[in-house]
Symmetry: none
DNA sequence: AATGAATGAGTTTTCATTCAT
DNA sequence: CATGAATGAAAACTCATTCAT
């Protein structure tokens, strides 16, 4: 029975992998269940044995990506040491994620379908941005207690920092004007964000 | 003869108005020509007498919005007086536009279809963000010459300011988590952006 | 008023010229009134001022071609002199017509639409094949009276001769397997037809 | 599993039967997929599960008719005995085929669409006329070797014979002027063709 | 649980025809 | 009489979903 469960879970994962490829490439409306079945290597009927509808499959796809991809951006990130160094690590990881193919694909599809799938939009927000902001806000509060920084509203400041880090690169990438942003550009932008951020919030 | 021209232009405008409503509500793929015809109050055939295809209609819709809406955000904006005051005007106008229903709808649909319509994405960028950044960068350069500010890279600084202004409100609005952002919130966020911006770039 | 009539007749001829080009290229179903209007250089409305419907325009086109093109294949053909020589002239003219672009186009379109436009099919038959057969049958009857030939059923014999002349070339041309049949091939085939024909019907 | 295969093949055959009826009645352009689905007793979707497009269905229809209908006209035809008798059998079978409803329908539609489907036209030629000519040419060559006939160019002579056999009946049938040609007419025409043919080619 | 054939409503697009100017 | 915008029915084709095997 365990093997049975595994088999079933495997099929589910197999379908989700196909769905991920197709939804990322074609968007929600542009994706067809036939194509997902083809890419996943199963029949159309099997799709419906595992997911009630196209919308349910889409929801599961986005939910999975949010859990497995966005959610772990900061897992294991140390927040000890010099504030500038910590900000550098946070900023770079965040930007690498936002500029990656997968990160971009989820963002695109969630923004496009936010009106149709509001729960998904909220789920995306909470597994991704909200989690990152929460993590960083906690750290800012601690540094403020320690006297190294002076941040009156840590959550707001965290959001400011993430917005600053997106300068120049993120919008252009979303508009397909920047196929492959180089590492050095990210570092430059993050450095400028750190300078401005500490210029305001250093104790 | 004038009436003839007006009639034709009127129909075109009528169709574009219907298209705007439907594309904004349903996105490109989600919109159907039948529904656009219904909302515009014309027959499907008339749609095709004025626009060659759905893609052409979509292109005309986005192009029009970029020209008539985004492009005029800064028309007539004075850039005299105290830097903080000028930044306040720029920031507020920009945020009002980005958070408006029309601004949001264009952003959503352009981001979603950037891969399929790269020219549109570039057109959006150039009529909207690039124009705003260019306007602000010119002003920053002038203030630097005057000795009131010290901005080494005006275009980059302008993008930083716009990103700062988006804190807290814009992403939540895109995700349908903030149906109607109040004026006071915008002012608060812009004020914080001005503080941080001048903390770095004041002479 | 005469000028008026002429103007009107000119427009009619202009429309028919456009219709001829389009029907020949695209067939009846494949032709569109919009394209005919374009090629004829008039508006769609003008088409309907001169012809009641697409079917009427088609009928007029085929009728005109039958009258002006098929009907005059034998005008001015002398039927004096050596029977072989007369047969040679008749056979060659007939084959040149059947293998020409215009002749082929009419045949194709009349055959394709014979079920839908039976009157047209009969009209085609009578202006074209029947006329040729009648002309030749008269000549065969006269030669029989003169004692140079012995043809018991002149109309039947005439049809036999035309069928013989089509050997090898006509079907292949109808099937687009012979874009441009050379003159010498026609002569060869006609010669063989004459030999066989006279082998049977010479007095 | 056999039943499965049969089910699928049955549906295909069922669709082809419907397509045959509609294409024969309306031609390629005049036929609609909706009507074919209706006549075949399946849904439009099922049509597209079995054939990629209208053109593919048409190609399959013509190909099937050429294979199953034209190709077997001469199967089992004995070519022993008196030449006149053999010619009589060949001529009658050929004419019965050309004057039949199915034979006429394929001819009509292939001629009409030869420009659009050149491969089909060639396929028609090779399964039908070319095969008949080849068969008869072989027999003529053998009779020439045996000394009963004297045919210098057997393929050309075969085509002459088939053209002669079409006298009076075939064109009129194609033009819908002869709904149902009686057997006796065919015999008469074929007899005349044999007379003329042997008048030239008898040893 | 897996399959894939069948469905029919829905999509974009074309077209013959009409009519106000 | 010429125009060309407007129409709506019909075309080819797609797709999410169901269901018998």
């Amino acid at each position: 029975m365990d093997s049975n469960t595994n088999l079933s879970a495997d099929k589910r994962a197999q379908i989700l992998a196909g769905a991920a490829a197709v939804f990322a490439a074609d968007g929600y409306e542009g994706a067809s269940m036939a194509r997902i079945a083809l890419v996943a290597g199963v029949s159309k009927g099997t799709l419906y044995n595992h997911f009630d509808s196209k919308a349910a499959l889409f929801t599961a796809y986005v939910g999975e990506k949010c859990d497995l991809y966005l959610a772990h951006v900061f897992d294991g990130t140390g927040h000890e040491g010099d504030p500038a160094e910590v900000l550098r690590g946070i900023g770079k990881r965040m930007m690498q994620m936002m500029l990656s193919d997968v990160g971009l694909a989820i963002y695109r599809v969630v923004i496009a379908e936010a009106a149709k799938f509001p729960d998904l939009a909220r789920g995306f927000f909470e597994s991704g941005p909200a989690r990152a902001v929460g993590f960083m806000a906690d750290w800012l509060a601690e540094e403020t207690r320690r006297g190294r920084l002076a941040v009156p509203d840590p959550a707001f400041a965290a959001e400011q920092f993430f917005n600053l880090c997106q300068t120049r690169l993120v919008l252009r990438r979303k508009l397909e004007m920047l196929p492959d942003p180089p590492e050095t550009d990210i570092e430059e932008v993050v450095e400028a964000a750190i300078t401005m951020f500490l210029g305001t919030y250093r104790a």
